[in-house]
């Protein structure tokens, strides 16, 4: 199974991100906005990878009132994106990987999986039931790490977006 966001296949037609914004945390204060200013989306419709991690590109827009805001928004979004990506990959690959190993072992290591642990209980059965039991713990720990790593970042992005919309409305 391939994951679309792995970007295994380099695409020469598109500008590639020079740095992956892993581990960035939202430490930015919110920038106030004067009333009556029109929102500028410049720097936003371009290729997305150039928005963050390359500060030099944003200098031409520095005189525009919203360029900085857009930049911050992009950085928040990038942090959220990478947090989600880490969470998704770790949890999915763990779940899928352990299951594939289990099925392959069941098929090709029948003697190992048929080994009796206690009484009639074979290793294969025990592992199968163990996976079901571990599922409860996995779901619990997914929820906990999502609350820790993703939710605060998502809140920042949401608030900033709400701020932008409010700015437009004014």
């Amino acid at each position: 199974m391939t994951y679309p966001d792995d970007r295994r296949y380099p695409q020469p037609d598109w500008p590639q991100p020079s740095t992956e914004p892993y581990g960035r945390t939202p430490g930015y204060g919110s920038y106030g906005r004067g009333p009556g200013q029109e929102p500028s989306r410049s720097g936003y419709d371009d290729s997305p990878h150039d928005r963050y991690g390359q500060a030099a590109r944003h200098e031409p827009y520095a005189h525009q009132p919203y360029a900085h805001e857009t930049h911050r928004h992009g950085a928040d979004l990038a942090a959220l994106r990478s947090a989600y990506r880490v969470l998704r990959r770790v949890s999915t690959l763990t779940a899928l990987g352990s299951f594939v190993v289990y099925v392959v072992l069941s098929c090709y290591a029948t003697e190992l999986m048929g080994a009796r642990i206690t009484g009639e209980l074979s290793l294969g059965m025990a592992l199968g039931i163990l996976q079901l039991v571990v599922t409860f713990a996995a779901v619990f720990s997914y929820g906990r790490s999502a609350r820790r790593s993703v939710d605060p970042l998502a809140r920042v992005v949401r608030e900033r977006a709400a701020g932008r919309t409010a700015g437009v409305a004014r």
Partner: protein, 538 residues
């Protein structure tokens, strides 16, 4: 079923009528107002996470899952245990990988998710076609199974007339639930079903364990004897065989189940009715917990069926063992005509009945919603349909989908159509899963790629399935006397899932080359909607 006396049949009939009356009343009372689309499709997103989670679990555990999984465990032992694990894991994977972005991206149907970055009628039509291709086979197999199951439960003569009557009755009820209840009404139905299902399974599993003095070892030993296979009962290979190709087929089937079942449209549709991201996470936690508990119980129940009923009787009643739960409840009841035996049999029969009803109703609603929302409102009327008109169309498409399903189920009732379940899951894994993962996580995904994934994955699964071992050439196939198979497997996932992903990638590459402007446009739309996708920011 010669030993069920007329008294317990009368009780079963009364129970069925009571179940139908109560659920119909609740369904209609919870149903939507005449011209409120959001209410019809999502129930205002007003369900609490616990309720929504139970509804997801209810939709997820279809009658096919309950009856076939028990049967496979009873007949094939270890292979059935692996199937139970993969069934539970599929929902876990949906939760980890897609549930949250899917909730943010979707509105009412799968077409909304896929078309958000690629507006256009072709996408909507493709989404609708694949939704139908994935839900209709599932619907037909369960309806045609309903015929034989109900005649079995009520001990009617196994003539075609009685089965047709049962199919038509269940089909009409399912249309009424879906058309009048909408999302909210069917959610209530699913909650009632999952509570009854879990309650009955707990009781049956406890009775099984009690019979063996709460010793799993004794139970497993008795199951090995009852299955007549001895130690092979606890090793992989009874279901599909032990040659190299058979084992590959087994691995392919399990991976298809893991990727495909949870992606089916009638399950993802429930996610859109969650309030926000924490709510969808809690809903999914409840759903996964419920489904996992059920899978643990089904292992005990299936092993108990092998131990107490024995594979010979199970096979005599149904080659797939779908009646094993019912036969187990009779075996547990022991002495005929005792009150306890009658109550247990009625409870299990009622559980099977409500499970059948609710799963077909959920699938009808998913298919009809896609027809009304994607095909009528967005493809035919280009998104300018009045909500009131769309509601009316949705109700009538429920009737249409139901009628088609009833007709097909009646036509195929004499064939062994269990293969249609596999087909639906294969289409889910090779068309729906690639389309959703690409659409949610790959910004370079384009319209051509999406169409290639949906049509390519679905048709690859369909063609391979038609020419597979499961349809012709083997004694257990749909057409055992004909032989036109050239695909040597029972399920197509091992080939069609990579094909679906490859088709999407190649299609997108083609768009980058040929229609650079279009592909840039869909990339820009992805970027603009990313805040909404990840954080639900408007």
């Amino acid at each position: 079923m010669t030993d069920v006396d007329s008294g317990s049949q009368a009780i079963v009939l009364v129970l069925f009528t009571a179940l139908v009356t109560v659920t119909l009343m609740m369904c209609v009372m919870a149903g939507p107002d005449r011209d409120d689309l959001t209410n019809f499709y999502t129930g205002y997103r007003s369900l609490t996470p616990l309720k929504n989670g139970l509804a997801i679990a209810g939709d997820y555990i279809s009658a096919a899952t309950v009856l076939s999984t028990t049967g496979i465990i009873a007949l094939a032992g270890y292979d059935g245990y692996v199937l139970a694990v993969s069934t539970a894991l599929s929902l876990v994977l949906l939760m980890f990988l897609m549930a949250e972005p899917l909730r943010n991206a979707g509105e009412f149907t799968m077409g909304d998710v896929l078309a958000r970055n690629m507006p256009g009628r072709a996408v909507r039509i493709a989404a609708c076609v694949v939704t139908l291709a994935a839900t209709l086979p599932f619907l037909v197999v369960q309806l045609s199974g309903a015929g034989s199951l109900l005649t079995f439960i009520l001990d009617m003569p196994h003539g075609a007339g009685a089965r047709t009557a049962c199919i038509v009755i269940v089909g009409c009820l399912m249309i009424i639930y879906a058309a009048l209840g909408g999302m909210r009404g069917t959610a209530l139905l699913q909650m009632i079903k999952i509570v009854i299902l879990l309650g009955t399974s707990v009781v049956v599993a406890a009775l099984v364990l009690n019979r063996f003095d709460w010793s799993p070892g004794e139970l497993v030993r008795a199951a090995q004897q009852g299955s007549g296979t001895g130690p092979a009962f606890l090793q992989q290979g009874l279901q599909l065989g032990t040659s190299v190709g058979d084992r590959l087929d087994f691995i392919g089937l399990q991976i298809t189940v893991v990727l495909g079942v949870a992606c089916l449209p009638h399950i993802t549709m429930r996610l859109y009715s969650a309030q926000d991201v924490p709510a969808v996470r809690r809903s999914m936690s409840w759903a996964v917990g419920t489904v996992t508990t059920f899978c643990l119980l089904v292992i005990v129940v299936g092993t108990g069926a092998a131990a107490l009923v024995g594979s010979r009787s199970i096979l005599a009643a149904d080659p797939h063992g779908r009646t094993s739960v019912l036969m187990l409840s009779q075996a547990l009841g022991g002495a005929h005509a005792s009150a306890g035996a009658t109550i247990l049999y009625s409870a299990v029969a009622g559980m099977v009945f409500i499970t059948l009803l609710s799963s077909v109703a959920g699938m009808t609603l998913a298919a009809a919603s896609s027809l009304a929302h994607d095909l009528f409102a967005h493809a035919a009327r280009r998104g300018r349909a009045e909500p009131r008109t769309e509601m009316t169309v949705a109700a009538w498409t429920c009737v249409a989908v139901g009628t088609v399903a009833i007709t097909l189920a009646t036509l195929v009732q004499n064939w062994d159509v269990g293969v249609l379940t596999t087909l639906a899951i294969c289409i889910g894994a090779s068309a729906v899963a690639p389309a959703l993962t690409y659409s949610l996580f790959w910004r370079g995904f384009t319209r051509t790629g999406l169409l290639a994934t949906l049509y390519g994955g679905a048709s690859c699964a369909l063609v391979l399935m038609v020419f597979s071992e499961a349809v012709s050439g083997t004694p257990s196939a749909v057409f055992p006397n004909a032989d036109f198979h050239w695909f040597p497997m029972q399920s197509t996932g091992l080939v069609s899932i990579p094909f679906g992903y490859l088709a999407g990638w190649l299609g997108s590459r083609l768009d980058h080359r040929r229609h650079a402007a279009d592909s840039r446009a869909s990339r820009r739309l992805y970027d603009e909607s990313e805040a909404r996708l990840l954080a639900a920011a408007e």
